[in-house]
């Protein structure tokens, strides 16, 4: 693909000045979710609402203790109809799958695959939500959805801003419904998010948002 072709935002454009007259139907190709304190419960609530045929792949950074093992994936498997995996380096991104950042690794998104790193912690966190969001924004641009859930720090706020800047869609959990409101509030303060939703509305909204993305 030439770089000129990649620069074109999709949609119906004016032939005279190239203005976008009508935006094409958005197709979201990847959902990225970040959470910290209280995140297990929040993820459970969201995943319980997603149906088996929810095709858009989901990458998740939940801050976890560095020696934590299969506990988180096993827990989420019990509450999700989707495949839940603890990500391996260079694993392909497939539909209908939830990819968790492994304990003590950063999760980085590339086009079509995921990679890991043990680079230093970012704001005391590894995995870092900002690192995942930032790489997803660069790899998927407007096709990425970022979701910031409960947490007691500001991780995710910078990354969410970059997702917005690159044309993606950002959802913040309504801090009033968050076990720890700091993280979604930091994102709301730092960037013009597309939606602020109570926890129990996030799953249904993702289904709605991705309806046109589902094959």
């Amino acid at each position: 693909m030439t770089s000129a072709a990649r620069k074109m935002p999709s949609g119906i454009r004016s032939w005279s000045d190239g203005r976008v007259l009508k935006e094409a139907v958005r197709r979201y190709e990847l959902i990225t979710i970040g959470c910290s304190m209280g995140g297990m419960h929040a993820l459970q609530v969201i995943f319980e609402t997603l149906p088996k045929d929810f095709a858009v792949p989901i990458a998740v950074v939940q801050h976890r203790y560095k020696t934590s093992n299969e506990g988180l994936p096993q827990f989420l498997r019990r509450h999700s109809q989707l495949d839940v995996v603890d990500t391996l380096d260079k694993q392909w991104i497939k539909p209908g799958t939830v990819y968790l950042a492994p304990a003590n690794y950063h999760l980085l998104v590339e086009r079509g695959e995921l990679s890991l790193s043990v680079d230093e912690k970012v704001e005391y966190s590894r995995p870092s939500i900002d690192v995942m969001f930032e790489s997803a924004a660069l790899a998927y641009g407007p096709a990425v959805v970022g979701v910031v859930l409960t947490g007691a720090n500001a991780d995710g706020a910078r990354g969410a801003a970059l997702i917005k800047k690159r044309g993606g869609f950002v959802i913040a959990q309504d801090p009033k419904t968050a076990e720890s409101p700091v993280m979604p509030q930091a994102t709301i303060d730092g960037t013009r998010v597309d939606r602020i939703l109570p926890l129990d509305r996030i799953g249904p909204f993702l289904i709605e948002l991705c309806r046109s993305s589902n094959p």
Binding site: S3, R6, K7, P9, G11, R19, V20, E23, R26, D86, T87, L88, D89, K90, Q91, W92, P102, Y105, H106, L108, V109, E110, E113, S115, L116, S117, V118, D119, E120, V131, S135, L138, A139, G141, P142, K164, K165, R166, G167, F169, R192, D194
Partner: protein, 285 residues
């Protein structure tokens, strides 16, 4: 949508330009210094490059290109940024426990064991292996080749001196890894440092080796390369795995990082699992 298309266009142009700059930087470094970062995995390479851009007081990757090409010292600093990895003694202790239980019994049957620790960084895992082999009574017939791309980290590895502050974690790892002695017997505490017994490196050869550009240099019964390949893209991972295969005795053992897998590489069918969870493999063809 909240964003004007024009703003998105700018962002895409900027991202495209950044990719061009990264390609120019890695190409320039390769041609001028011989270090080949051209096939490093992009997202983490990008983060490390930007870290160096800011640390040098610059604002663009183009600025860094000029700096590193004309100032070898700034290249040294970038090299450190690009090659240092987090490491710890008995990192992922269950890996070492499994190695003890499943691999050591096989090594016992060999008259001589050659081990290659590729990408050993500051050497914590090399000393871990030496401790394990001493405790198993195997060390005297082993030779460990510990290599890294970076001379500065190799010097640290050779010294066997590590911060005392990490010893608490190291001790706990040692115990989980099945250590059957007292960890503090292996080092002497001096000020803020732990100085490890020189006998641990008696059979260790530290040498600079670049996995990307250098060739195979021996045949091994065990090759460890943990959390190094995650920094390489698929094509480069395949190339390095071919290098390991060339350097591996039949039925030799390959140990990767906990979240690395051979199954996404071109040599997958040459190995069988020794332990799926711990990423220990045996060459079978």
């Amino acid at each position: 949508m909240a964003n004007e298309p024009a703003a998105i266009l700018d962002e895409q142009t900027r991202a495209d330009l950044e990719q061009i700059e990264i390609r120019l930087l890695t190409e320039g470094i390769y041609q001028h210094y011989g270090f080949d970062f051209r096939d490093y995995s992009l997202p983490s390479l990008r983060r490390r490059i930007w870290k160096r851009v800011y640390a040098e007081g610059l604002s663009t990757i183009s600025g860094l290109i000029e700096k590193v090409l004309h100032d070898p010292q700034s290249m040294e600093r970038l090299l450190l940024d690009l090659s240092i990895n987090t490491t710890a003694m008995f990192r992922d202790p269950t890996f070492y426990l499994t190695f003890r239980q499943k691999v050591v019994p096989v090594l016992r049957t060999y008259p001589f064991v050659r081990i290659w620790h590729a990408g050993c960084s500051t050497g914590e895992e090399v000393y871990s292996m030496a401790i394990l082999l001493q405790e198993e009574g195997l060390y005297d017939r082993c030779r460990i080749y510990a290599t890294d791309i970076n001379e500065a980290v190799l010097q640290k590895a050779k010294s066997g001196i590590f911060p005392l502050s990490t010893m608490q974690e190291n001790t706990s790892n040692y115990i989980t890894a099945g250590g059957n002695g007292t960890f503090s017997d292996y080092y002497t505490a001096r000020y803020d440092y732990a100085i490890f017994r020189p006998s641990l490196r008696e059979n260790v050869v530290f040498a600079q080796h670049n996995l990307v550009t250098d060739a195979s240099f021996n045949h091994f019964n065990v090759i460890f390369c943990r959390n190094v390949l995650i920094y390489f893209n698929n094509a480069l991972q395949d190339r390095v795995q071919e290098l390991f295969l060339q350097s591996m005795e039949m039925f030799g053992i390959l140990g990767l990082g906990k979240k690395e897998s051979i199954k996404f590489t071109s040599v997958a069918d040459r190995y069988e699992d020794v332990d799926t969870e711990e990423k220990l493999y045996r060459r079978i063809r």
